[in-house]
């Protein structure tokens, strides 16, 4: 796997893209397509969730199949915050991140003692544990999930308008991507990638491999929690299906379609998969067959994902 690629030379492109994104709700409204503002928020939220998995998977080399648990726990944390009267985003989001991060710490501390297939299965099992816990907790709505009472606010401003909420999501994603980009370039990022490439050597050089991995796992979990809290605010519901392992699979598919270990891999993957879902689901209710066949084709013939097509020169 390649190192996280620096996107510095594409700064101009990024600034242009951010400009377009900021103007997107106004553009969609002008075209009379307000419905798609919510859809765009959804894409950005899944982009954040997939990027958090990409940090753990592509960057840290930890193949977690329980990532949806952190995503869903963030959603539930946000719902519970709003129910108990905490509505400011500056409190709700950090709290959701803290709870998801804490669970990631627990899961990581146990799972990171193992490697390979074991790690995949154990993260999967712990993820399902969180799912069953939420489903059987009657206080949190059980199967039906926990409905939100309104949306969070930001420093006194309501985020009820779809455009305002879109901008809030955009800000979260932007800051997170900036953070991830910096992290990849920083000493921590170098070390964690080196551990991915050769764990034994890093261990021999005296790096506390376990702690680096655990930190990376927790950061990924916390960012997934942030995405979950945003999604709960978007849909108005913290649903147990967010924690289900098929959700982890979907996030994984996004990362792989986008490109494992590329900074924008998660983002691209979420965009491609959700748009594909929107288009295919319009044709047939059995679109999962098409998606499955497409995935098989990607695995067998284009295992490096979409981002690799744009980044050929780096290899």
């Amino acid at each position: 796997m390649a190192f996280y690629h620096s996107a510095r030379h594409r700064e101009a492109l990024s600034i242009g893209l951010i400009g377009v994104m900021i103007a997107l709700p106004a553009l969609l409204t002008a075209c009379g397509q307000e419905f798609y503002i919510g859809f765009a928020s959804r894409i950005l939220i899944f982009a954040l969730a997939a990027s958090s998995l990409n940090l753990v998977l592509g960057f840290g080399g930890m193949f977690s199949l329980g990532h949806a648990a952190f995503f869903g726990i963030g959603a539930y944390a946000a719902a519970i915050c709003l129910r108990s009267g905490i509505t400011d985003a500056l409190l709700v989001l950090p709290l959701a991140m803290a709870v998801a991060g804490l669970f990631a710490l627990l899961v990581g501390a146990l799972s990171l003692r193992t490697r390979g297939v074991y790690f995949i299965m154990i993260t999967l099992a712990f993820g399902q544990m969180a799912y069953y816990l939420v489903v059987s907790a009657r206080a949190w709505g059980g199967d039906d999930g926990l409905a939100l009472v309104g949306r969070m606010t930001f420093a006194g401003f309501g985020l009820h308008g779809e455009a305002a909420f879109f901008h809030a999501v955009l800000a979260c994603l932007g800051l997170s991507m900036l953070f991830l980009g910096r992290l990849a370039e920083a000493r921590f990022g170098r070390v964690i990638q080196a551990i991915r490439e050769n764990e034994t050597r890093m261990e021999a050089l005296g790096f506390p491999v376990f702690h680096y991995r655990l930190s990376c796992f927790v950061i990924g979990g916390a960012l997934a929690g942030l995405a979950g809290a945003l999604l709960a605010n978007l849909t108005g519901l913290a649903s147990p299906s967010l924690l289900q392992w098929t959700q982890s699979g979907t996030l994984l598919v996004m990362v792989i379609i986008g490109g494992v270990g590329y900074l924008y891999g998660g983002l691209l993957g979420a965009l491609v998969l959700l748009c594909l879902e929107e288009v295919l689901a319009g044709f047939t209710v059995h679109w999962h067959i098409g998606l499955g066949l497409l995935l098989l084709t990607i695995v067998l013939y284009a295992p490096k994902g979409v981002a690799a097509l744009f980044a050929k020169t780096h290899d």
């Binding site: 146990l110 390979g116 154990i122 399902q128 059987s136 206080a139």
Partner: protein
């Protein structure tokens, strides 16, 4: 109370044995080829559907079971030859993605063919009544499942522990390169194991069909349990799979049946009614975490 415990213990044993049928194939696939197969649960689901369809067509449960198992084994053979053979040399990421795609395809295909409603599968008429065992009545069909499970477990033990093929399989799980170097056709061996695993899946699906609803998604929940079994037992170890299955089956069944009652006796009613079901549903995961903490390689690691 003792009767309830005894009955639930039998249920647990029956559930554990069925889990073993699934986990046995899966643990060998993981162990020998280091290949992760999420679609194992789908084979279980497809097996159950095929058994139900064949039983309906032939109007006989046992003919249906035999036909369904054979058809699923054939499907396993086709899958192994066309897809899995290409996946062994790939990384875990590709394996997970490809088998996840298989789950999507098979769930949707089943929905397309049989519809979203659960399919009914009736147990053989002769076994539908209860049977008296040691002073209480227990469904005869469940006893037959236990007998079948014990027979298959015994057969597998003989096959793996005593036969030449079993020796190769164990050698392959312990050290694949060395086994290949000694001239064993691990590729062919693996095809055999995979097909056998698929047949065991269908057997479990068909036997459990009359007890559970045969429906889309039945494979996923049981797949996770099979994973927990393998984690507890140790990858690649049949003995570990058996012990793990029995532990998971018994703890899960007894936990669900007895834990709420036990909690009600010790805690305030309010706390017990919220905590009971939640604790019962995560009991086996807590158990797994505990075992993992002391034995990260499982109880019976194949690679010592």
């Amino acid at each position: 109370m003792t009767q309830l415990i005894l009955e639930q213990a039998l249920n647990g044993l029956q559930f554990g044995l069925m889990l073993f049928l699934l986990a046995a194939g899966l643990t060998l696939v993981f162990g020998i080829m280091d290949c992760i197969n999420l679609a194992h649960g789908s084979l279980y689901m497809i097996g159950a559907y095929l058994v139900a369809a064949a039983a309906q067509a032939a109007d006989s449960f046992w003919i249906g079971l035999a036909t369904g198992v054979a058809a699923t084994a054939l499907l396993g053979l086709v899958l192994e030859l066309t897809l899995f053979r290409q996946l062994y040399k790939r990384d875990h990421l590709s394996q997970v993605l490809a088998t996840f795609a298989l789950i999507l395809i098979s769930n949707e295909a089943v929905r397309l063919i049989w519809g979203a409603q659960p399919v009914m599968l009736n147990p053989p008429a002769a076994l539908s009544g209860p049977l008296e065992v040691g002073g209480f009545f227990y469904p005869a069909y469940r006893l037959v499942i236990i007998a079948c499970g014990l027979a298959v477990a015994g057969l597998l033990y003989l096959l793996v522990a005593k036969s030449r093929i079993g020796m190769w399989v164990r050698a392959g799980a312990a050290n694949r390169e060395m086994t290949e170097a000694l001239g064993i056709n691990v590729q062919g061996l693996f095809t055999l194991v995979f097909v056998f695993g698929a047949a065991l899946c269908a057997l479990a699906g068909g036997l459990l069909g009359p007890l559970l609803a045969v429906q889309v998604g039945m494979g996923e929940s049981v797949l996770i349990l099979a994973f927990v079994v393998i984690i507890i037992g140790g990858i690649g170890s049949i003995r570990g799979a058996l012990v793990g299955s029995l532990i998971v089956g018994t703890v899960d069944t007894l936990g669900r049946a007895l834990l709420p009652t036990l909690l009600r006796a010790t805690l305030p009613a309010d706390a017990a009614s919220t905590l009971g079901p939640a604790l019962a549903s995560i009991l086996i995961y807590l158990l797994m975490a505990g075992i993992l903490f002391f034995k990260p390689q499982g109880l019976f690691p194949a690679r010592a």
